[in-house]
């Protein structure tokens, strides 16, 4: 296990470096002078010169990149052009709302998605399965922002049960977390069903049935436990999807999170914030996948030996 851990960790470092390089080059790929862009539209020539010296733009690209890495490691991400706050501060304020939203969305969608998938697998071909799979493919095809708007229309505008948006008590979480999790629940249901059906065909399940294990035991002990192993990997991948989905859902519900910050920053061309956010989102995604791979190796020893 230790050997696998080391191999997997060392494999992640080049990917993280490459991601950082992409994000670093991002500002350099923009048309125009990076110093002018970072200094903002109202900057005087003195400001621009100061920014240029500060960013070390006169030095070789490799040196600039190394400096960018060391600055990033110390969380010195520059200042927002729009609010003049430091980027680290800005992201710090917005971090918790997005984290809570994604965690709630993930929690309900995994439980419901896996539940529906197992029900479908057990009742394969019957009406329960058909209804569940129609719901699942509809969930995958449903535009999240449309669902959000329809829910606001029904529960906030017409019934007045829940707030239309904003951050606060549990009432504020219901609609955004439901909206964000729907597509994930649908993907989980489809995937769990096919994993379940696949395991049902295994020899050891037939053996269990043949030796007279009751159906309940066959499902819970022999089939489900094995079917859930690939589901772990999918959960990790879906987390990345949720981070992306949060960008849209936060816009619908006026949620003060990282996603809305990113959208506002792109609209305002606030490049220091955009750069930091893209780096943060990507690193989160890479790290979550790493954690999932490690978990996967814990439950499935076969992986470690490859």
């Amino acid at each position: 296990m230790l050997e696998y851990l080391i191999r997997r960790l060392t494999g992640t470092i080049p990917v993280l470096l490459a991601v950082a390089a992409f994000v670093f080059l991002f500002v350099h790929m923009l048309p125009g002078d990076p110093a002018r862009l970072v200094a903002g539209p109202d900057a005087t020539p003195q400001d621009i010169a100061a920014v240029r010296a500060d960013m070390g733009l006169d030095r070789p690209l490799v040196m600039q990149f190394l400096r960018y890495l060391s600055d990033t490691a110390r969380l010195q991400l520059g200042r927002s052009i729009k609010t003049h706050q430091t980027v680290a501060e800005l992201i710090g304020e917005r971090f918790m709302p997005t984290l809570l939203l994604t965690v709630f969305a993930m929690a309900w969608s995994v439980v419901v998605g896996v539940g529906i998938g197992v029900l479908s697998g057990v009742k394969r071909g019957r009406w329960q399965d058909q209804v569940a799979m129609v719901l699942a493919i509809s969930g995958i095809s449903f535009p999240g922002f449309w669902l959000g708007l329809l829910l606001i229309d029904l529960f906030s505008v017409r019934l007045g049960w829940l707030p239309t948006g904003g951050y606060g008590g549990w009432q504020n979480f219901v609609l955004p977390a439901f909206t964000l999790g729907t597509a994930v629940a649908a993907v989980m249901a489809r995937f769990t069903r096919s994993a379940f059906v696949e395991v049902t065909a295994e020899d050891y399940v037939r053996t269990a049935r043949a030796k007279g294990v009751p159906e309940r035991g066959v499902i819970w002990k022999h089939t489900l436990r094995n079917a859930l192993i690939p589901v772990i990997t999918l959960t990790g991948l879906q987390f990345g999807f949720l981070l992306g989905g949060a960008i849209v859902v936060e816009t619908v519900f006026a949620w003060p999170g990282l996603g809305r910050l990113l959208v506002d920053s792109v609209a305002f061309r606030d490049y220091p914030v955009i750069q930091a956010e893209i780096l943060l989102f990507s690193c989160e995604f890479v790290l979550i996948n790493l954690i999932v791979d490690l978990l996967y190796a814990v439950v499935n020893p076969e992986i470690r030996l490859r």
Binding site: A18, V19, P143, G144, L149, L150, D153, V248, F281
Partner: protein, 289 residues
């Protein structure tokens, strides 16, 4: 189904065999017909749409559905049904063009990567890993931030994140096909690498590529609409479906038709592509199931 296949070994051409299997997937056939109708409606929008996409009717502002305006009108009295037909041109173009671009690049990279292996393979695949390290819509937002908003840039943005999906898929099939007897035989009589890849390996990878194309077009349309909705895609006067939804936001409970119908159009289109993709997968490729 499987015992039937055993009884009658397939003497049909691959196309006929595919059609025989696909025909039985009634849901997918219906989805395909819906899509054909939508493509036709989008192409014929200038002739069949009752109004122009930007024609205002100030006597009928925010009107509900009626015989005069099938889906009602928006804040400027523009006919929503006509705008949806015109918007279909945008959404379908974005879907098809971005998947064609991303798919082509991905197929070429995947073929090269799987066929040559070694250093080329490692380089290409590491690059794909990095692209996959960015969640799809984030990559698209990055590209839009770089190039500026607009529908052309949305197409590039979505094409970029389709590339690694196709590259991985094709690389996998290429690795398997490279070992098959007929490819080895072709190689042994001196068929050169480009021809080997194009004529002998590429056709074998196509079934799974076609399935992914259908699924990706749906995803692309959804992403494009999302980008327009958050204001990074098609600019406001455009009848893009996501942009129309964004306009309807302020009129929830007052004029629901602005939100309802464009959203329904996105949902039906994406659902049809997904159902078609599922049906194609069952009919074309047993391994993908």
């Amino acid at each position: 189904m499987s015992d039937l296949a055993l009884a009658a070994p397939s003497l049909r051409s691959p196309a006929a065999e595919f059609w025989r299997r696909f025909r039985r997937k009634h849901v997918a056939v219906v989805a395909g017909c819906v899509l054909l109708a939508m493509i036709f409606a989008a192409l014929a929008a200038p002739w069949i749409a009752p109004y122009g996409p930007a024609t205002p009717d100030y006597d009928n502002v925010l009107a509900g559905p009626s015989w005069q305006h099938l889906c009602g009108t928006d804040t400027f009295g523009r006919d929503i049904f006509s705008r949806i037909l015109w918007g279909g041109r945008i959404s379908l173009t974005v879907g098809f063009v971005s998947v064609a671009m991303g798919g082509l690049a991905g197929v070429v990279l995947g073929l090269i990567s799987g066929f040559f292996g070694g250093l080329v393979d490692s380089l290409i695949m590491r690059l794909m890993d990095v692209l996959l390290a960015f969640p799809g819509i984030l990559l698209a937002i990055g590209v839009v931030a770089l190039l500026g908003p607009g529908i052309d840039n949305v197409i590039y943005a979505i094409a970029v994140f389709s590339v690694p999906v196709f590259a991985r898929l094709v690389r996998g099939s290429t690795l398997a096909l490279k070992q098959t007897l007929y490819v080895q035989a072709a190689r042994s009589i001196g068929v050169r690498a480009p021809l080997l890849m194009l004529r002998h390996i590429l056709p074998g990878t196509l079934p799974s590529v076609i399935v992914y194309c259908s699924l990706r077009v749906g995803t692309s349309i959804l992403t494009a609409a999302a980008l327009s909705f958050i204001g990074l895609g098609a600019p406001p006067p455009s009848p893009e479906w996501g942009a129309m939804l964004a306009e309807g936001r302020s009129y929830l409970g007052v004029a629901d038709q602005i939100t309802l119908f464009p959203g329904l159009a996105i949902f039906i289109t994406v659902l049809a592509f997904n159902l078609l993709g599922d049906g194609l997968r069952d009919a074309l490729d047993q391994k993908l199931r």
